[in-house]
Symmetry: C2
Subunit: 227 residues, 2 copies
């Protein structure tokens, strides 16, 4: 069976990584059976791929692929039934959603969530996580999270999604496609360390979140969150 | 023949309106013959649709449709050959590009361009244009345009387009679709009142601009700009 090495927090059932989530959704979309293997940041010795040392890593018989983008390309190639997008136009749109995430949504979510992931991380991970993330932020986790207006900026960013979702059930149109999985994976990241009322989202986005949580027998809805 | 009432500046050959451009591209995409009728902001008496008093307005025999969104829906309905999008996922993406334009690109372009459109507008339009636009901006045209960093912000916004355009010839994938026309119409708006070196755009976006200008026998490339 396909094995997915999936980043875990101190509670091994909490799996925050948006890149791992994107791959899980791709596997579910294709109806492929898989098991996840929880790994902490610090469990380098158990990492299946010493060269990368990054998750997700997917293992299938003698294949081992790291990097969510490469894994998804490999899945599309190897299991072409139930493709994750239908047209080159939809594939170009996935890239635009990715670019928008990087330019608009993540600059607001990253400083809000890093400090929460750190708090819920395994004790052995905390030093490594703090050091690497503070280098990225150019500030301490706590300083970055306390920048005024971050939540309002995140809420404003989510408003951009309300326009397509007011007229369509999914970013993919009538059914979910890779654009939905790409964006929703960051919602799952947020959900893993926050409660339902953390951000005030526009109604069409809230309705889409519920639809995404319902997919695949409620796979994402069953995912454990910090209490 | 289809008639499109098209907003003009003091020089009637300069047609800045992005909403009119979107309709022109849709007509060209469908291979429909049309003529444009230049109108100034102030020529209310010549407006084909007194109720709306807004352009674009499209006239076809006994039909008269205002509002670019409604015109495009009517064109898709009436001339279903050569559709402007191929799938519901592509149609949802058009809405996301629209939302991104409103949330990210236009807040930087609007204050930069309003003052230039005003300068090139017909003498009879200038008062009306200044009053309505300054109300929107909450500042004089000149104050709004001089806000520091606007150009850098516009350049940063255009970078988001570089990701899909690095891997695809068009936002529509292999061929242009309504997402290309929607976004490029705002490039045409900018081009009408600026020179080629006004903004520094990433290479994939520059290459896409050239491809868009080449479409339909160089229709957009032939469009007059202020000198």
């Amino acid at each position: 069976m396909i094995k997915l090495y999936d980043l875990a927090l101190a509670d091994e059932d909490i799996r925050p990584s948006p890149y791992c989530w994107k791959v899980k959704f791709a596997l579910l979309h294709k109806g492929l059976e898989f098991e996840t293997v929880p790994l902490h940041f610090a469990e380098k010795d158990n990492y299946p791929d010493q060269e990368h040392g990054l998750l997700p890593v997917l293992e299938d018989r003698d294949e081992m692929i790291a990097d969510s983008g490469k894994i998804i390309a490999w899945l599309e190639n190897t299991f072409p039934e139930k493709p994750l997008t239908s047209t080159p136009g939809e594939r170009a749109a996935v890239e635009f959603y990715n670019a928008w995430l990087g330019a608009v949504l993540l600059p607001t979510l990253v400083p809000l969530l890093f400090v929460r992931i750190h708090a819920a991380a395994h004790e052995d991970d905390k030093n490594h996580y703090r050091t690497t993330r503070e280098k990225k932020l150019g500030a301490t986790l706590e300083e970055a999270a306390s920048k005024p207006g971050l939540k309002a900026e995140a809420e404003a960013a989510f408003k951009t999604l309300a326009m397509p979702l007011a007229g369509f059930r999914f970013l993919g149109g009538d059914t979910p496609n890779l654009s939905d999985y790409t964006v929703f994976s960051f919602v799952m990241w947020m959900r893993s360390v926050t409660g339902d009322d953390y951000l005030e989202l526009p109604q069409p986005v809230v309705a889409w979140v519920e639809r995404m949580l319902d997919l695949f027998d409620g796979y994402a809805r069953k995912a454990k969150r910090i209490s």
